[in-house]
Symmetry: C2
């Protein structure tokens, strides 16, 4: 009997997803590997969306863009098939959610362009590797996310407020968290705000717009990072004729390692 | 007539100081060049002090240490003479200030060891170069400094609380200031605290232990950096038999450029 060919853990996860064996959340899968937010748009809208990302790199850090009609993204994994490698997709028509399939081969078109955007899982990995505690993870909750009073820079039909995620730390750890996430501009980078939520239009930390409320203790400061929900909210508001995204928490698992995204 | 030999601006400043033409503050002289805090101790104490610096690199970042009896520090400038190149010295005997000479050739001994420690002028230069406003500088004041409840790690006779300097910024600028100063570990590096002065034993920002009070506005956060006054206070408390330091504000001007201290 021949030994099986060794493959990357990330590729093994993708194969299981492609075969329909994994259709849920990807959190914790292929530990240490970069996971990405997925947006698939018709070519006519893709140019405006790419410009939107270029104008707003903190909420929309582009890891890869596919060629029109091409479901491959070799920069993130040689075998990637964007039609089958996301556990669960969301299909929108005219802004309405119409389907949540585990495979989009039946919907693929020659004019579709795939985007993969960096996600906070990568910098959370770096924070945890450094020994910091992330409360929402320790409590088994989703990160709290808030609509802010900060406007994104618009491009074509895409415009709307910046959405941020919040993680609280004691002051010395907050400084360390700023240092660590500054090394990862490709996955939201440094926080956009610290300490004064009301100054960015957040009235009540206890009532996030997405995710779960997480207490901020008296000896902690809330830190706010640009969030990948920003482009999702902006696309939803633009009501494009046709659009496919990943379902929340069901990301594309790539062959890149989180550490490879560090710029120093 | 021959044209004068061009020399470094920093070296020209040192020559003027050496000739006794400059005996005051060095702030603003040889712009862009590193200035250093000076401590000169007998060899018997120097070993403990170097260990103290090694244990407390944030308040005591060592830029150079001389050989016993040798007033040269070629790492900071080929011609440096530690007996004459500081505009104003302070001489302590048994912890008492006994003299403030502009030259210490008459006091030099074969067992004296010179230390030059990094100073916040260098990271303030980097903050200003980035376009940030530093209030105490804009207001022509000294930076406010505070004794904290954070203990330094002791070594031999040297022990005491960490002293910090405070600069206030709006949240986004505070994040930027953390990023910028993180690049300069040789001159105190990143802040040690942000936002909650009472958590580090500072009861009233309006009453600094050294320097001038500077208002913190309602939309600003106070940031606290480890300060070079820490080793001065620690040495004063240890009451060494003999010790020479620079007089406040009268630093050693070196040939290093501030930008050369950036680690990335």
């Amino acid at each position: 009997m021949k030994a099986p060919q060794p493959i990357l853990e990330s590729r093994a996860v993708r194969l299981r997803i492609r075969r329909g064996e994994l259709t849920g959340h990807t959190s914790g899968l292929a530990a240490g590997h970069v996971q990405g937010n997925v947006v698939i748009l018709p070519q006519a809208l893709a140019a405006d969306f790419l410009r939107f990302c270029q104008l707003n790199p903190k909420p929309c850090p582009v890891l890869a863009v596919g060629a029109p009609g091409d479901p491959a993204l070799p920069a993130l994994g040689e075998d990637i098939d964007m039609r089958a490698d996301v556990p669960r997709y969301r299909v929108f028509r005219g802004g309405e959610l119409v389907e949540e399939p585990a495979d989009i081969r039946h919907l693929w078109r020659e004019d579709l362009v795939s985007f993969v955007l960096g996600c906070s899982f990568s910098f959370e990995w770096a924070l945890l590797e450094d020994g910091l505690t992330i409360h929402h993870m320790a409590q088994g909750k989703n990160v709290p996310m808030y609509r802010t009073s900060i406007a994104t820079a618009p491009a074509g039909p895409f415009h709307g407020p910046l959405v941020v995620s919040m993680r609280a730390f004691r002051p010395a750890d907050a400084i360390r968290a700023i240092q660590i996430t500054s090394r990862f501009p490709g996955v939201h980078g440094a926080p956009v705000h610290i300490g004064m939520p009301e100054r960015i239009g957040i009235r009540d930390l206890g009532r996030p717009d997405w995710g779960d409320a997480v207490d901020v203790r008296a000896d902690e400061l809330p830190l706010f990072w640009a969030c990948g929900v920003t482009p999702q909210a902006v696309i939803a508001a633009a009501k494009p004729e046709f659009c496919i995204t990943h379902a929340p928490g069901s990301m594309l698992v790539t062959d890149l390692r989180n550490s490879q995204l560090a710029v120093f």
